[in-house]
């Protein structure tokens, strides 16, 4: 273990290497570029590969190609690049290829404000690509957590054969903080489930007791087909309803049946809290301070920090809604996470605290909401 001072983006890069990432393809974009720069330097040292592609579409395509070739892969981008990547987030979900996409959110829409903070991509992370699909999105609050959640992102991605989005924001990405960097060999790594049947028996999308079929890498003797079309158990295109329906059910089930594993939350609650703040990312830092100030003034207030944004922590929020009269949702957008909280807790309980001009939600803003001013 070494104690270091570093940026959130650097912690993501180290987290990727610790998780076993050996391929990165990306395109320069503020405020995510440090991740690419660091990995271009560090990956060759561990026999990993780095490539700067011609755009973000190609970047995620290359990552998926490399993952099919057997390397844990990731890319890093921000708003405009994340928009371009939507096509291949859908492809990775459809083909069930593990890949990690880091999105260091900046103020949008469009080119927006490249160096300003935002949490405006919450809904895009969930629904940015077309069609119904499963997705996992994680969002760290600190530099240290940026490392931990990057490792988690890779592990979830391999374990569930799904694209995982690490929803950073400019504040966490560029902020410098103390981090206790563990010895990388001690970090828990999850590898994709390999098949144990001979090639002629292998069904790339079926014949598994769990909802996650074993994955063979290209070039290892299992010749099979991958397509973004709806496919049967062998991976061949299909238009049959009795093959499409089970597929769409299974890929959603593989996430829904494992919510206990995937949903990570930080709870600071007591049964007497009538006001609870629900938030994530950089906004959680302001909220943390506001909660502290409120408690000094003897206001009973709890706090829930969502580390897993998608799938949404429905059970936690409905439990909170049973005790709390008011749920305050601070976020650096005009109310995206709040939509989900309202869906679960009911609209009349939710108080939104929003800021979408590139500046953080301040502790004062959250405190005023807690005090009901």
């Amino acid at each position: 273990m070494t104690v270091r001072l570093m940026q959130g983006n650097e912690a993501v890069a180290w987290g990727a290497i610790a998780a076993g990432c050996r391929f990165f393809a990306g395109y320069p974009i503020t405020p995510s570029t440090e991740i690419a720069e660091m990995l271009s330097r560090e990956l060759p040292k561990v026999a990993g590969k780095f490539i700067q592609m011609e755009d973000e579409i190609g970047s995620l395509a290359a990552c998926i190609g490399a993952s099919v070739g057997g390397l844990k892969s990731c890319t890093a981008t921000s708003g405009p690049g994340f928009s371009l990547m939507q096509e291949h987030i859908g492809y990775a979900a459809m083909t069930e290829v593990p890949v990690v996409i880091v999105n260091v959110q900046r103020l949008g829409p469009s080119t927006g404000q490249p160096t300003s903070a935002s949490q405006g991509d919450v809904m895009q992370a969930r629904w940015g690509t077309h069609g119904d699909h499963p997705i996992i999105a994680l969002s760290p609050v600190s530099v240290s957590q940026s490392f931990d959640l990057t490792v988690k992102a890779f592990n979830f991605s391999e374990k569930y054969r799904t694209p995982v989005i690490l929803l950073m924001d400019e504040v966490i990405g560029h902020m410098r903080e103390k981090i206790e960097l563990p010895d990388f060999d001690t970090v828990e790594r999850v590898e994709r489930i390999a098949t144990d049947v001979p090639p002629e028996w292998y069904k790339p999308y079926g014949d598994s007791l769990s909802d996650v079929p074993p994955m063979a890498n290209f070039g290892e003797g299992y010749r099979y087909h991958i397509t973004g079309l709806f496919h049967d158990l062998l991976g061949y295109p299909t238009t049959r309803l009795d093959e499409i329906d089970p597929w769409i059910q299974r890929v959603h089930r593989k996430i829904e049946r494992n919510l206990n594993d995937i949903i990570l939350v930080d709870e600071d609650l007591s049964d007497s809290d009538r006001t609870v703040v629900v938030t994530f990312g950089a906004s959680a830092r302001s909220a943390r301070h506001a909660v502290k100030l409120a408690r000094q003034r003897r206001i009973k207030v709890g706090m829930v920090t969502l580390l897993t944004i998608w799938p949404f922590a429905e059970e936690v929020i409905s439990r909170v809604a049973r005790i709390a009269r008011r749920i305050i949702v601070p976020e650096m957008n005009l109310g995206q996470l709040a939509l989900e909280v309202e869906r679960v807790a009911g609209r009349n309980k939710v108080v939104r605290v929003n800021r979408a001009n590139g500046e953080m939600v301040t502790p004062q803003m959250v405190l005023e909401a807690i005090e009901g001013r």
């Binding site: 393809a25 040292k45 998926i64 490399a66 070739g69 057997g70 290209f218 010749r223």
Partner: protein
């Protein structure tokens, strides 16, 4: 006479995939598929060591029938997927099969940059000068004046020269033939796969269903005859005036040079970095 199972092609088709294929009767894509199989067979590649990657469109459907590691990706992005796969597994022979709209319109940027990097991929572009699957819209290689579903008054955009583009961008090997000249096509694809670097084969084809019908080119047999009569070898083309040459499909190896291949350069980079790191730790 050979039985069905003794044909070379049969050995490389998936036993589990139900035929018939998706292509229209008379389509040229099947000839390119046959040429590709014969090239792979002649080189003697193990099927496990071949990856066939495609994009979207009629040509994009080719990999599913072939008994290799196959990936049907998104429109225009096949080369970007193939780039990642090749870097992850340099020992794989990665062949990318694309249509003209796929490779040059939506995928034009990936095409240029894959060639520029000189990464060891073999790109085959089946050029039928039309978007066939969507019903015959004009593509970046549709000739001026030709009719298309989206050019009802005739196309006014000049066509993109695929081979010249690949050469200018940095490819190591560039060749062109047609689906009429199937034997020549085998040979060019074989040379392309053997090439250490980015190689491109343009396989000029036709579309009997949309382009042919909209432009009143007759039957499939007529279109085959046109490929035969409208094409000349590169050496014969040299004797033509520039104006005459413009009207012809020039067949042959247009470009063949040796230069460093991307994944090998990266492997060398890794070795150098690791050696430098080792020296640093030993000195400290």
């Amino acid at each position: 006479m050979l039985t069905h199972a003794e044909h070379t092609e049969y050995m490389y088709l998936r036993p589990t995939k139900k035929f018939p294929n998706v292509w229209c009767a008379g389509c040229g894509i099947g000839i390119v598929m046959g040429a590709l199989i014969r090239a792979v067979d002649r080189i003697g590649l193990d099927k496990d060591d071949v990856a066939l990657i495609s994009g979207i469109g009629c040509t994009g459907r080719m990999p599913v029938y072939m008994d290799f590691n196959t990936m049907h990706t998104t429109h225009g992005r096949a080369l970007a997927f193939a780039t990642g796969l090749k870097i992850a597994r340099p020992s794989l022979k990665v062949i990318v099969i694309m249509g003209d709209g796929d490779a040059l319109a939506i995928g034009g940027n990936h095409f240029i940059h894959a060639a520029r990097r000189n990464i060891g991929l073999t790109a085959i572009v089946v050029n039928n000068a039309i978007y066939g699957m969507t019903g015959g819209q004009y593509s970046p290689t549709t000739p001026i004046g030709a009719k298309a579903a989206t050019a009802p008054y005739g196309n006014i955009e000049p066509p993109m020269p695929i081979c010249e583009l690949a050469k200018a961008a940095g490819a190591s090997f560039v060749a062109r033939s047609t689906v009429y000249h199937a034997i020549e096509l085998d040979r060019f694809i074989e040379q392309a796969i053997r090439k250490n670097g980015f190689s491109l084969v343009e396989a000029v084809s036709y579309c009997p269903t949309t382009f042919g019908r909209l432009n009143k080119l007759g039957t499939t047999v007529d279109m085959m005859r046109q490929l035969k009569e409208n094409s000349v070898t590169a050496s014969a083309a040299e004797k033509l005036t520039p104006q005459e040459r413009e009207m012809k499909i020039v067949r042959g190896v247009m470009h063949d040079i040796d230069k460093p291949e991307y994944t090998q350069l990266y492997q060398q980079l890794i070795q150098d970095v690791q050696a430098a790191e080792k020296a640093k730790t030993e000195n400290s």
